[in-house]
C-alpha cells in the first residue's frame, strides 16, 4: 500500500481546500508546501469572495461564484465581513461593462442576502463617502463579502489535519516519481531539518499556482500558464467608509476596499516572466493606482501608505488578448492526456472558487482511486464557526480589553474562549505584544503550539502580527522572544528571526517609502540597527532573500 492516496502540492487557497476535501472524504492525504500556508498568491489578494461582478460575460462562472459565496457564509461566517461598494461615475462611460452588469449581478443577489445593484445620487454618495470627488454625476451601489484569506487557508489546512491529513510546511517538492506512466511517489526536501524524504502516493494534485508548470515538469508533464502580476498599496486604517471602484488610467477597473483595519488599493495587472519570489511593487504600479484613484478620491495621496504587496496570478493560458479578457474560470488538467496517470493540475481560478476547484479535483481523484465519496466541504463549518461569541462577556470574564477580544474573535470565532482560557494558568499571557492589531501573548503561544508557524512572518499570517502602521517596529523583538522561547531557539536564531521579519516587512515598505514611513523607519532603524546593533552583529551571517539579491 502506498503511503498516501493523494499528495497535494501547494498550500494556497486551492491546495488547502483540496487537502481538506480529500481528508474529509477519507483519502489519505499529504499537503506539501515549500514555504508557509498562504505565503504566495492568496496572501497578496484583497480577500474578496467575489460575486463575479467582473466576469459578467461568463454567466456560468457568475453562477458558480454566487453559489460559492453562499457556501462560505455557511462555513466561515466568523472570518467574513460585508463591504458596501460604490462605483462613482464622473461620466456615463465610467460604467464598467455596459448595461448587463447590473442585471446579471442583481438576478443572483437575493441568494447572497444582498440588494440588487442600486443607483445613488451624487449627494447621497457623498453622504456615505465624503471624500468622493464632488464632480461625480451618480454612483452605482452593490455589496460584496470579504474573507480573511490567511485564516481561510490556515483553517482549511487545520481542518484537513483534523480529518487525518498530514500538513507539511517548509517542505519543497524536489521530484515526482513516475513509473510506467503512472505517479508512484514524490520526493521533498524539508527546509528546516535539511532532509530529503521520499513517499509513495497514487495521485499528485498540483495546486502550486504560479509554480504549477515547474511542478508538472518533475513528472515531465506540461502546464501552460499566463503569469500576471498585480500590486496593492496598503493604506493605514479605514480611510474610506465603503469600498470604491473606479476606472483606471488604462480603462481597467481598480478598487479601494476597507479591509480589516486597513484599506487596500489595487490592483495592477502586468504579464510577467520573472521568478515570483523576486518581485516587489514598482514605482510605476504605485503611481498607476494612486493616479487612477485620485480622480474619484482626490485626497487619496494624503492617506498614509503603510506598504505595498505584489502577487502573481496563475491565469489560464489564453494569449493575444488583454489580461482582463482572460477567463476567470479555472481549468483542471488530467495529465492522463499527456500519458501521465495520477497527476492533476490547476490553472486559473479565483479565491472565491477555491472550494469548488477542490471539489472538482477531488471528484476526479476519487474516480481515479475508484472510491465513491461525497463532498461535504460546503456544509461543514470550518473551525471557529460553530457558534456566536459574546465579546463583552469574555472581556469581562478574563479581564482583557474588549477590543483585543473582538479582534481575536474576528480571527478565531469560537476558538477565542479556548485561547483566553490559557491565561488562567498564565496570567502574564494577557500581555499585549503587537500594539497595533492588537495581539496578546496567549494567542501567539497558542498559534505557535497548534498552527505550526516557523517564523514571525508565519505568525503574521495567523494572528496579523506586525500588520499595522508601525509594520512590526514594536512587536518584532517581543514576539521573536516568545517564538524562540517556545521553540527553544539559540540566541543567534532569535536575532536572525528578528532580521528575517524586518526584511519581509521592508520588502513591502520600501517601494512606497515616503512621509510617515520614513519617520517610522527612522524609529525602527534606531531600535534594531543603532541600539540593537544588529547591523554590525549579524550583517555577515544574514542570507539575502530572493528579492534582496543584486544579481
Amino acid at each position: 500500500m502506498a503511503d498516501y492516496d493523494v499528495v497535494v502540492i501547494g498550500a494556497g487557497s486551492t491546495g488547502t481546500a483540496v487537502a481538506r476535501d480529500c481528508a474529509m472524504r477519507g483519502l489519505r492525504t499529504l499537503l506539501l508546501e515549500r514555504d508557509d500556508i498562504a505565503s504566495a498568491t492568496v496572501g497578496t489578494c484583497a480577500g474578496m469572495i467575489s460575486s463575479g461582478l467582473k466576469y459578467m460575460d461568463e454567466p456560468e462562472i457568475v453562477d458558480m461564484c454566487s453559489d460559492e459565496v453562499v457556501h462560505f457564509l455557511r462555513i466561515a461566517r466568523h472570518i467574513i465581513m460585508k463591504n458596501p461598494i460604490l462605483t462613482p461615475m464622473l461620466e456615463m462611460s465610467d460604467l464598467s461593462s455596459g448595461g448587463n452588469f447590473a442585471e446579471e449581478y442583481s438576478k443572483r443577489a437575493e441568494s447572497r442576502d444582498v440588494p440588487p445593484v442600486l443607483f445613488l445620487t451624487p449627494e447621497d454618495s457623498r453622504e456615505i463617502e465624503p471624500s468622493l470627488n464632488p464632480e461625480i454625476i451618480a454612483s452605482l451601489y452593490f455589496e460584496e463579502y470579504f474573507i480573511d484569506p490567511f485564516r481561510l487557508c490556515i483553517l482549511q489546512a487545520l481542518d484537513a489535519k483534523n480529518h487525518g491529513a498530514d500538513v507539511k510546511t517548509y517542505c519543497e517538492l524536489v521530484d515526482i516519481d513516475v513509473k510506467d506512466g503512472k505517479i508512484v511517489g514524490v520526493v521533498y526536501f524539508n527546509r528546516i531539518t535539511r532532509e530529503e524524504k521520499r513517499v509513495s502516493t497514487h495521485i499528485v494534485i498540483n495546486a502550486a499556482g504560479p509554480w504549477a508548470s515547474k511542478v508538472a515538469k518533475f513528472a515531465e508533464a506540461k502546464v501552460d500558464l499566463r503569469l500576471n502580476k498585480g500590486a496593492h498599496v496598503i493604506l493605514d486604517r479605514r480611510v474610506v467608509n465603503v469600498g470604491v471602484i473606479a476606472k483606471a488610467v488604462d480603462g481597467r477597473m481598480i478598487y479601494l476596499f476597507p479591509h480589516e483595519n486597513t484599506t487596500l488599493l489595487g490592483t495592477t495587472a502586468i504579464d510577467t516572466w520573472e521568478d515570483p519570489d523576486t518581485l516587489t511593487a514598482s514605482h510605476d504600479e504605485i503611481e498607476y493606482l494612486l493616479q487612477s484613484m485620485e480622480w474619484v478620491i482626490p485626497s487619496i495621496r494624503d492617506a498614509r501608505i503603510i506598504r505595498t504587496m505584489e502577487g502573481v496570478r496563475p491565469l489560464v493560458a489564453d494569449w493575444k488578448i488583454p489580461e482582463g479578457k482572460v477567463t476567470r474560470g479555472y481549468e483542471i488538467i488530467d495529465h492522463s492526456s499527456q500519458n501521465i496517470k495520477g497527476l492533476i493540475s490547476f490553472t486559473g481560478g479565483k479565491l472565491v472558487m477555491c472550494r469548488h476547484m477542490a471539489e472538482a479535483a477531488t471528484d476526479l481523484a476519487a474516480e481515479m482511486l475508484r472510491v465513491e465519496t461525497e463532498c461535504k466541504t460546503h456544509l461543514e463549518p470550518l473551525p471557529g464557526n460553530e457558534d456566536d461569541v459574546d465579546v463583552l462577556a469574555l472581556a469581562k470574564e478574563f479581564d482583557i480589553s474588549q477590543h483585543a477580544v473582538e479582534r481575536l474573535r474576528a480571527r478565531r470565532g469560537t476558538e477565542t474562549r479556548m485561547i483566553l482560557e490559557l491565561t488562567k494558568d498564565h496570567p502574564d499571557w494577557k500581555t499585549t505584544i503587537c500594539t497595533c492589531e492588537p495581539v496578546i501573548e496567549a494567542e501567539i503561544r497558542y498559534s505557535i503550539r497548534h498552527e505550526f508557524p516557523q517564523t514571525l512572518n508565519d505568525l503574521r499570517r495567523r494572528v496579523r502580527l506586525g500588520t499595522g502602521p508601525c509594520q512590526a517596529t514594536f512587536c518584532t523583538y517581543k514576539a521573536a522572544a516568545i517564538l524562540a522561547d517556545e521553540r527553544e531557539l539559540s540566541g543567534h536564531d532569535f536575532q536572525l528571526d528578528i532580521l528575517d521579519f524586518l526584511s519581509e516587512r521592508w520588502k513591502g515598505k520600501r517601494p512606497s517609502f515616503r512621509r510617515e514611513q520614513i519617520i517610522q523607519e527612522e524609529v525602527a532603524q534606531g531600535m534594531y540597527a543603532c541600539v540593537g546593533n544588529l547591523d554590525l552583529t549579524l550583517g555577515s551571517v544574514y542570507t539575502r532573500k530572493p528579492w534582496e539579491d543584486w544579481s
Binding site: 465581513m81 460585508k82 463591504n83 458596501p84 440588494p115 440588487p116 442600486l118 443607483f119 445613488l120 445620487t121 447621497d124 453622504e127 456615505i128 463617502e129 465624503p130 471624500s131 451601489y141 455589496e143 493605514d236 486604517r237 479605514r238 480611510v239 467608509n241 465603503v242 480589516e260 483595519n261 486597513t262 485626497s299 494624503d302 492617506a303 498614509r304 465579546v391 463583552l392 472581556a395 480589553s401 474588549q402 477590543h403 477580544v405 473582538e406 479582534r407 494577557k430 499585549t432 500594539t435 497595533c436 492589531e437 492588537p438 499595522g468 502602521p469 508601525c470 517596529t473 514594536f474 510617515e516 519617520i519 517610522q520 524609529v523
Partner: protein
C-alpha cells in the same frame, strides 16, 4: 428602486455593518491620527496611565494605532476611551502632534450614536440635565438660595457685588461658563469686580447656556452643535467685540468652535485679557500692598496649557508676581491633569482619583499654603480631593485670587 429608496436601503446596510461615515471635518482628525509612529512617548506622559497603568487604560498610543483604526469595531472600545480625561498631554508630547483628544471625542460620538447602551449611564444623566436646562448643572430649586449662596461667598471673600449698569453696546461679553454660573458663583462675581475696576464696558448673558463641551465629551455631537448654535446667536445679538471667560474648558472649546463656526470675534481667558488688553502695569497699580505674605503654588489647567496655549500660564505667573507679598512656588506636578476632565469623574471616580493623586502628593510637597488655578473646575476638583485627603491647603480660582488682592477703591 428609486434613488431615495436606494439611499434608505443603503443606510440600513451601513447600520447593520456598523459603518458611520466620516464627516468631512472628521477627515482632518483621521489625517492627524495616521501620523502616529507607535513610539509610546505618550504612554510615558499620560496622567491616566500614570494613575491606573496601561492594563486598565491602554493609553493614547493604543487609541491611535489600535482603537481608532477600524470604525465598525468602535463599539468595543468603550472600556478604554471613556477613561481618557482629554487633558491633551499626549498631543503635546507627541513628535507628530497626533490629535488624540479629538479622535477620542469622535469615537465616543460613534459609540453614543450606535451603542448608547455602552456609554456609561452616569453620562446619560448629565445629558438629561443639559437637555433640560442648557447647562451642565441643574439650576437651584429656589432662586433665593442661589442668591444667598452667592452673597455668602462674596462676604467670605470680602468682595462687593457688582451690578452691571448697561449692556447696550458692550465691548466685551463676560462668559462665566456653567460651573461659575451655578456652582462657583464667586468666580463670576470676582470677574465682574475686576472688569469693573478697569472700566471695561462688558455684559453678561441673561440666560447663560452651556458652550457644549460636556456634550461633546460625552459623544452627543448633536446636542453639542445645538448648544454651539444657540450660544452663537446669543452672542451675535449682543454685538460684542470679544468674549472673555474665566473657565479653562470654555476658553479652549469656544476658541475651537468660534473658528469652526465663523464667530468672527476673539475669545480670551481672563488672564490673557488682563495682560493683553489691560496691561501688567495698570494691573500692578491696582494691587493692594498691605496683604499678608502668602506662598502659593499654581495648578495649570489642561484646557488652557495643552488645548489653548502655554503662554497663558506664563501670563498668570506674570500677574501673580505683580501682586505684592505673594511668592510663587513651583509644584513638580503643576501641569499634570487634575482628573476633572473628559467627564471621567462622573462614571469612573476611582480613575479620576488616581489621576488627581499625582497632584495632591506634589502640592503637599511644596511649602505653599494655597493653590491657585485659573479654572473653576480644577479649583473644585483640587479643593475636594485635598480636603478628602486631609491636606490643609486652600484652593482659589485665580480670578478670585486677583479680585481679592485688588486695593480698596
Amino acid at each position: 428602486m428609486s434613488e431615495e429608496e436606494a439611499y434608505e436601503f443603503v443606510k440600513g446596510t451601513l447600520k447593520e455593518e456598523r459603518i458611520i461615515p466620516y464627516k468631512e471635518d472628521e477627515l482632518e482628525i483621521i489625517k492627524s491620527i495616521e501620523q502616529c509612529i507607535n513610539c509610546g512617548i505618550c504612554i510615558n506622559h499620560c496622567p491616566v496611565v500614570a494613575g491606573v497603568g496601561v492594563d486598565q487604560f491602554s493609553g493614547p498610543r493604543s487609541i491611535a494605532v489600535e482603537l481608532s483604526r477600524s470604525p465598525p469595531e468602535f463599539w468595543t472600545t468603550g472600556d478604554k476611551v471613556y477613561l481618557c480625561t482629554g487633558c491633551g498631554t499626549c498631543r503635546e508630547v507627541c513628535p507628530q502632534s497626533v490629535n488624540i483628544p479629538e479622535i477620542v471625542n469622535m469615537i465616543r460620538a460613534r459609540i453614543f450614536e450606535h451603542r448608547p447602551d455602552l456609554v456609561p449611564k452616569e453620562l446619560h444623566k448629565v445629558l438629561e440635565t443639559i437637555h433640560a436646562h442648557e447647562k451642565a448643572f441643574a439650576p437651584w430649586d429656589d432662586p433665593e438660595d442661589k442668591i444667598d449662596s452667592r452673597d455668602m461667598r462674596l462676604e467670605r471673600l470680602g468682595l462687593p457685588l457688582v451690578d452691571i449698569e448697561s449692556k447696550e453696546s458692550a465691548d466685551v461679553l463676560f462668559y462665566p461658563g456653567c460651573q461659575a454660573e451655578e456652582m462657583a458663583q464667586e468666580v463670576k462675581e470676582a470677574a465682574k469686580v475686576i472688569l469693573k475696576r478697569f472700566d471695561v464696558n462688558f455684559a453678561v448673558l441673561d440666560e447663560l447656556s452651556c458652550c457644549g463641551l460636556p456634550a461633546r465629551l460625552i459623544g452627543d455631537e448633536k446636542t453639542a452643535r445645538e448648544l454651539n448654535t444657540s450660544l452663537k446667536e446669543k452672542i451675535k445679538s449682543l454685538g460684542v467685540k470679544m468674549l472673555v471667560t474665566t473657565c479653562a474648558g470654555c476658553t479652549s472649546n469656544i476658541s475651537d468652535i468660534a473658528v469652526r463656526d465663523n464667530w468672527d470675534i476673539p475669545i480670551y481667558h481672563m488672564i490673557e485679557y488682563l495682560i493683553e488688553h489691560i496691561g501688567i502695569d495698570r494691573l500692578q497699580a491696582e494691587m493692594a500692598s498691605d496683604t499678608s505674605a502668602t506662598k502659593i503654588t499654581i495648578h495649570e489647567p489642561c484646557h488652557l496649557i495643552k488645548h489653548t496655549s502655554r503662554q497663558i500660564l506664563d501670563y498668570a505667573v506674570e500677574i501673580l508676581q505683580a501682586i505684592p507679598n505673594v511668592e510663587v512656588i513651583t509644584s513638580s506636578a503643576r501641569d499634570s491633569c487634575c482628573g476633572g476632565g473628559g467627564m471621567v469623574a462622573y462614571h469612573a471616580p476611582s480613575v479620576a482619583k488616581s489621576v488627581v493623586g499625582i497632584n495632591l502628593a506634589a502640592i503637599d510637597a511644596t511649602s505653599a499654603s494655597r493653590v491657585v488655578t485659573p479654572c473653576p473646575l480644577c479649583t473644585a476638583t483640587l479643593e475636594d480631593n485635598l480636603y478628602r485627603s486631609g491636606i490643609p491647603i486652600d484652593v482659589d480660582d485665580l480670578t478670585v485670587f486677583i479680585a481679592t488682592h485688588l486695593s480698596m477703591e
